[in-house]
């Protein structure tokens, strides 16, 4: 069994934290893992993505092939569609619905949302959802919660434990706040 996931968004939105949590959960579950990240110049407000590959068998390539991704998890709706070529026809997009507009030629928002609706996608205003559960900085954990049922190869409990481990050094309050955001996401995605 394998899951190929593309994580994406805009530099600074916190996609690498999502990758770290999934990586921790996969290691704990004894899965093989490869995770290619983007560092450097693109992190300055440009598009960023991470290729995450999880499998019960050894993995060769660090990169996901076109039409190979089971899941696109995106912090931003337009960014979700940037990697469409990599999505399997049976794949799913889980994305934030709220545009991050830092370019002058951002597409028409209504048309963008309409196009997203024609694709196999689940979307949510994760920023509002994270504010509602009292953790305004936890939007990425809400998104991870939404994606949890589609990750499949890892259980919701695996991911919760990984959140506890990854954020442990920031204190119990941060762990609790992130778990709350994650749970809100699980509920919203179900």
């Amino acid at each position: 069994m394998k899951k190929d996931i593309i994580l994406c968004g805009v530099g600074g939105q916190g996609i690498l934290s999502i990758a770290t949590v999934i990586g921790e959960a996969a290691t704990r579950a004894g899965l093989y893992l490869k995770q290619a990240e983007v560092h450097g110049m693109s992190q300055r407000g440009g598009d960023v993505q991470s290729n995450l590959r999880l499998s019960t068998e050894p993995i060769w390539s660090d990169l996901i092939a076109e039409a190979g991704a089971d899941l696109i998890i995106s912090m931003e709706p337009m960014e979700a569609m940037r990697y469409l070529a990599y999505l399997s026809k049976e794949g799913k997009i889980v994305t934030s619905s709220k545009p991050f507009v830092n370019i002058p030629n951002y597409p028409d928002e209504e048309a963008l949302q309409k196009e997203l609706d024609t694709l196999p996608s689940v979307k949510l205003d994760i920023e509002t959802a994270s504010k509602d559960c009292g953790n305004p900085r936890g939007a990425n954990m809400v998104l991870l919660g939404m994606a949890a049922p589609y990750i499949g190869i890892l259980s919701v409990e695996d991911l919760r434990q990984a959140i506890a481990t990854v954020f442990a050094r920031k204190g119990e309050q941060v762990v609790e706040a992130n778990l709350k955001a994650f749970d809100a996401g699980v509920k919203a995605g179900a």
């Binding site: 560092h39 469409l84 030629n105």
Partner: protein
């Protein structure tokens, strides 16, 4: 014990556990995380391993060679273009030879994710006549550190370890070994004085070592030939896969291939000939430039078909991907969704609140009055001043070129010739150019945009912090033409006045807009709070 590590981290930990005594480096994507990992590692701290950033790759290479001379294991790390900066020291380190193991880590960037070119560091290894290791995965990257140091000490030569972005910045589980002790101080007693009489003898000695290097490649555990017995596949195609190319081949073909994996150079020529004899044609799959493809063509002669990037079976530019490799191997690819219609590129940009923004706002405002002006740029975050909304720059070539190109253009009569360079880039390679300009009384205006850090690579210490006025005065810039301003919107009238005055001055002037990078500022504020 298994650890989840980036390729860069695997290299760093592999080096520490192989008894490293010092890492010498200048930050550069995708190599930066190696030195950062060593700087933060408990054992490295306990052992007091040298890990402070160097001023540039040449000073790094020379210091590492000095540590090797003293008998200890040293690592020097850089991005591929850093090899150009340290080339003099590097090429001659093959002539002197080494005492303690010396690994020269070059992180290549095919597809130019964060670079100006796609140069392939394997050429440098061949040029200097030293071995090169090219790991295919994170585990090999880790293992090759101890292996490389041993090989370096056995041959008495530096070893190039070449990685590419996709390995440097990809994470996987790595089996970690127990740390070895450092080597003891035991300086070389050999002559390292490269006067012609000695250098000639040493060059002959280096040539005499080539057979041992070739033997090491033939016997290397990293160069594996896998025969594939299925005889009915016609024509019989052999595949030579270098470094991470091996993964893409295995991804596409599983174990159904006549495959030679190459991760150690010089090329294992006997193994290549064995594979060629079993097959009717060879395909060379390598990330970067067609280094091996050319060598294999020469080895097998004009009559033997060799395919690769030069024949168009693989793209001539850009990194390998599972897709372009599968296509070259004739494997079907899946049906893809049509590209999204509502899509726009999202290039990187200067952070909101960054001081470089205020510098460009001021420059653009003043230079609007000088239609013939040119601004010569340099390498760092502020290169983004070439893009909208600023579009201020006419050039960005290599570290330090802003000052010297402005000088050359001014020599030719161009006015105003403005150079913009960051603080770290200035100490890396700008100072000598400024001395040229001073000695020639060139009519240029140099802006050293000082954000107190090496920003683009993530905020590493900058070698010249707090020293810039002193450096400029020491190089002979006149005191009244070294001007410091604080780049903030509220200071715009003052900044524009200073720029205008210094452009009007017929000689070398230096303007230093100084305000901390907002990324490191926020990081320092957070650290203080905790």
């Amino acid at each position: 014990m298994k650890k989840l590590l980036l390729g860069d981290e695997a290299i760093a930990l592999g080096a520490i556990n192989a008894g490293l005594s010092g890492v010498y480096a200048y930050p550069g994507t995708p190599s930066t995380e190696i030195t950062e990992f060593i700087q933060n590692h408990p054992l490295a701290r306990e052992r007091n391993l040298h890990s402070r950033w160097c001023t540039n790759e040449k000073t790094a290479m020379e210091a590492a060679l000095g540590m090797s001379y003293a008998g200890k294991r040293a690592l020097v790390c850089m991005k591929h273009v850093g090899m150009n900066v340290c080339a003099d020291a590097f090429v001659n380190s093959a002539i002197t030879g080494v005492k303690g193991g010396l690994i020269v880590l070059a992180a290549d960037d095919p597809s130019m994710h964060s670079s100006q070119n796609e140069q392939d560091s394997r050429f440098y290894a061949k040029f200097a006549l030293v071995p090169c290791l090219e790991p295919s995965n994170q585990q090999e990257a880790y293992d090759m550190m101890a292996f490389g140091f041993d090989l370096s000490e056995r041959l008495g030569e530096p070893i190039v370890l070449r990685v590419v972005t996709r390995l440097a910045h990809s994470r996987a589980a790595v089996e970690v070994t127990e740390p070895m002790a450092e080597k003891l101080l035991s300086p070389s007693t050999d002559q390292w004085v490269l006067l012609p009489g000695i250098a000639r003898k040493k060059y002959v000695a280096l040539l005499e070592k080539q057979d041992a290097m070739k033997q090491a490649s033939e016997q290397s555990p990293y160069n594996c030939l896998t025969s594939y017995a299925k005889a009915d596949a016609e024509p019989k195609r052999g595949i030579l896969a270098c470094g991470i190319a091996y993964n893409y081949v295995r991804e596409a073909l599983g174990d159904e291939a006549r495959l030679l994996k190459v991760s150690q150079y010089p090329l294992p020529e006997e193994k290549i000939k064995t594979l060629a004899a079993e097959c009717d044609e060879l395909m060379v799959i390598e990330d970067g430039q067609p280094v091996v493809e050319e060598l294999v063509k020469a080895l097998l002669g004009a009559g033997y078909p060799v395919k690769g990037r030069l024949t168009g079976d693989l793209p001539r530019t850009g990194e390998l991907t599972p897709d372009n490799v599968a296509k070259a191997l004739g494997r079907p690819t899946g049906a893809v969704f049509a590209p999204a219609k509502n899509m726009a590129p999202r290039p990187p940009q200067l952070c909101q609140g960054c001081g470089h923004r205020d510098v460009y706002t001021a420059l653009n405002q003043v230079l609007a009055d000088y239609p013939d002006h040119r601004v010569f740029g340099d390498i760092g975050c502020y290169t983004l001043g070439a893009l909208p909304p600023f579009q201020s720059l006419s050039s960005c070539v290599d570290m330090g070129a802003s000052i010297t190109m402005a000088k050359g253009a001014a020599d030719a009569g161009l006015f105003p010739a403005v150079a913009i360079i960051g603080d770290s880039t200035f100490t890396h390679s700008g100072m000598t150019g400024l001395l040229d300009a001073v000695n020639d009384k060139a009519n240029i205006t140099v802006v050293i945009s000082d954000n107190l850090t090496t920003g683009m690579t993530g905020g590493q210490d900058s070698a010249g912090t707090n020293k810039f006025e002193a450096i400029c005065l020491g190089l002979g810039v006149e005191p009244e033409h070294v001007r410091v301003v604080v780049p903030l919107p509220k200071n715009m009238p003052e900044i524009t006045r200073v720029i205008r005055e210094e452009i009007e001055y017929k000689g070398v002037s230096v303007i230093i807009p100084r305000r901390e990078c907002i990324q490191t500022f926020a990081r320092h504020a957070r650290a203080k709070k905790q």
